[in-house]
């Protein structure tokens, strides 16, 4: 570790927010200390992580525990969209060690030559991970692993348990004529197209007949009350009874129920639901690959996951041992343990730029029709 790379994270800070600024200020402080006592600084490594803010890797207790165990100091930079993640990797080669890539973006980062293969022999928990995620072609290529399957989750349907008795179990329910202005969707083109494809019995990622998807989504017009964009907004509107049934994220549904005591029920429709999983990747030119391997191994360790889930709330771990270590009362255990429901999921795959633009235009057209 050289002085140069020690300071690189500061140069890499792009869009700044307060947290980032603080991180930068801390790094400056570290740099100043280094000048005084270079030997101590060189003994320990730095692991620079690029991730969403507040998404597990930057929990203070986890960073402390990892530092105590390995001597590596973990610092963070954040992105607000996947395209920003790609941009940061591109403009800052050698500036990051670990980067979070979801299943739909890992392949794109690999093709752009921004991440490097993982040496799985350095990942002690490797053998325990669920093979379906660990060996997925979305994270592997040519016999090499480019993303360590970390956590996974579901995008399906949440509903108000006070309103629906008995509980609904289909996607078709959203189109039910009795639900005028009671349905909410997320304002997201890819997700909307995915559900439109599932509802019309097509491949979720690359539907052959986009016109059919569009027509099906247009039919939702009388039922759609609002299009939400954040978990916070969802909770506010749900609490205000602005809608009764909605597309929603599994982890958020659990938080709404346990943390905010809202009457939220959750199910994966009979027709299918959207599955996603996140892979921790190692950036190309990582200055500290050993630290990076140690860090991603810690991230799939039951000791980290149990604390994350019970203290903060997390998606499901890709390590079944971590799930098993959860207390039996933990709500995640029941939701993600439902094997039949998990079988119904289709997993998000990479899309081409053309597909993204097409879905975006389709969704803009549908939204315009909703408003008209």
């Amino acid at each position: 570790m050289t002085e140069e790379s020690k300071h690189r994270p500061l140069k890499g800070a792009g869009r700044s927010n307060r947290r980032q600024f603080l991180a930068g200020a801390t790094a400056l402080g570290v740099g100043a200390t280094v000048l005084g006592a270079p030997r101590i600084a060189r003994a320990a490594g730095d692991v620079k992580v690029l991730n969403w803010q507040g998404y597990g890797t930057d929990e203070a207790w986890a960073v402390d525990a990892f530092h105590k165990a390995t001597g590596n100091t973990v610092t963070h930079d954040y992105y607000n969209s996947e395209s920003e993640m790609i941009t940061k990797l591109r403009t800052n080669p050698g500036g990051y060690d670990v980067v979070l890539t979801n299943c739909a973006w890992n392949g794109l980062a690999r093709q752009a030559d921004l991440i490097q293969p993982i040496d799985t022999s350095k990942v002690g928990n490797w053998g325990d991970l669920t093979p379906a995620f660990r060996d997925s072609p979305l994270l592997n290529d040519g016999g090499k692993t480019y993303g360590l399957s970390w956590v996974w989750g579901i995008t399906a349907i949440a509903y108000n348990t006070d309103v629906f008795k008995p509980a609904p179990d289909t996607l078709a329910k959203l189109w039910d004529a009795s639900l005028k202005k009671r349905v909410a969707l997320r304002d997201d083109a890819i997700e909307a197209v995915s559900f439109g494809a599932i509802a019309t019995g097509q491949d979720m990622n690359h539907p052959a007949d986009l016109a059919k998807v569009k027509a099906k989504l247009m039919e939702l017009k009388p039922n759609v009350a609002l299009l939400w964009s954040s978990e916070d907004e969802w909770n506010k509107q749900f609490a205000a009874k602005a809608f009764d049934i909605s597309v929603y994220w599994s982890g958020s549904a659990l938080r709404s129920k346990t943390n905010f005591k809202l009457p939220v029920g959750y199910y994966v429709p009979q027709e299918g639901g959207i599955g996603w999983f996140d892979g921790l990747a190692i950036a190309k030119g990582s200055p500290n690959p050993d630290g990076a391997h140690a860090f991603i191994n810690y991230m799939v360790d039951p000791s980290f996951y149990v604390e994350w889930e019970t203290k903060v709330g997390a998606p499901a771990s890709a390590n079944p041992k971590a799930m098993a270590a959860l207390p039996d009362t933990d709500p995640s255990k029941g939701l993600y343990g439902d094997e039949a429901a998990v079988k119904r999921l289709q997993f998000m795959a990479p899309l081409t730029d053309k597909e993204k633009q097409d879905y975006s235009d389709l969704w803009a057209e549908v939204k315009t029709a909703f408003a008209g």
Binding site: S81, D361, K367
Partner: protein, 287 residues
């Protein structure tokens, strides 16, 4: 130094900081966005890019941009109109009828909402407008059999929220021009036998028009680009061009398209003013 030079020096010294600030904060970002709008790929992505007008053509090629634009312009018209209907009488009362400490107290009440966060104000409207909200409850307290009332997630809800946010601009600009009208003009008209309504129609209102126009401009321009109020109060009914522009920057990361749409909207605004300007100028309202 000649007086002439001193005058120029004074003008430069006094206006210089303001113009430098405007150049730095408005002209430079706008120029950067104009440059961005004619690129084929986002400047965030390193690699070759070339100039293209495709982003401007997209506005005419995609079927949904015209209705979105029309709704945005209509939203600006409705909001401006209702702000005038609500704000002008208030400004008139403040300028001509209420004196002393009452005036200060009422002014405070008008600007008070400005001290709270805009997002909070809009969210509090959802509690008033929704089914089971404040209005619904009040109506049912008086008429228990009345049908359920909910304005939330409709176009009128968006206009209600926007009028609330922008009406102080109308009140303040109208107040300033009404305040400047000499009371002796009104007395002169009255002494010549004009009734109160005629005095207002023939003397006060025409003289206050510059305030109405500047208030309208201050409201119309930001409203047609608004995206936060339509999203929260309009729900699925609140689609505007502003929201689509926001999406190009935050969701699809297609900055060039977002920039091109912004400039198209700017061009539409300028076009509207270009049409109105001769009318206003002829009547001496806009010099």
């Amino acid at each position: 130094m000649s007086p002439r030079q001193r005058q120029i020096g004074a003008i430069l010294g006094l206006t210089g900081p303001a113009y430098a600030w405007l150049a730095l904060t408005i002209f430079l970002p706008l120029a950067a966005m104009l440059y961005c709008s004619v690129l084929n790929v986002s400047p965030l992505i390193p690699g070759p890019s070339h100039f293209t007008l495709q982003n401007y053509l997209a506005f005419f090629q995609k079927s949904f941009y015209l209705p979105l634009t029309w709704w945005s312009v209509l939203m600006g018209v409705w909001t401006t109109l209702f702000s005038f209907l609500v704000g002008y009488p208030a400004a008139y009362a403040l300028a001509k009828r209420i004196k002393g400490r009452w005036r200060e107290a009422l002014f405070l009440l008008i600007v008070l909402p400005f001290w709270s966060n805009a997002l909070v104000r809009i969210f509090s409207w959802t509690m008033v407008l929704r089914q089971g909200g404040l209005i619904d409850m009040a109506v049912h307290a008086v008429f228990p059999d009345a049908p359920a009332f909910s304005l939330l997630f409709t176009y009128p809800a968006v206009v209600v929220g926007l009028v609330h946010s922008y009406v102080p601009y109308m009140i303040l600009t109208c107040y300033v021009s009404l305040q400047a009208i000499d009371d002796s003009l009104m007395e002169a008209a009255q002494s010549l036998g004009a009734a109160n309504w005629t005095v207002f129609r023939r003397v006060v209102f025409p003289l206050s028009l510059p305030g109405v126009v500047s208030g309208s401009v201050l409201i119309f321009v930001p409203v047609i680009g608004s995206f936060m109020e339509p999203r929260i109060l309009g729900g699925a009914k609140g689609a505007t061009l502003g929201m689509n522009i926001e999406e190009q920057f935050t969701v699809t990361a297609n900055w060039p398209l977002g920039a091109a749409l912004s400039f198209t909207l700017l061009a539409i605004v300028l076009l509207i003013f270009a049409v109105l300007y001769p009318v206003l100028k002829r009547r001496g309202i806009w010099s």
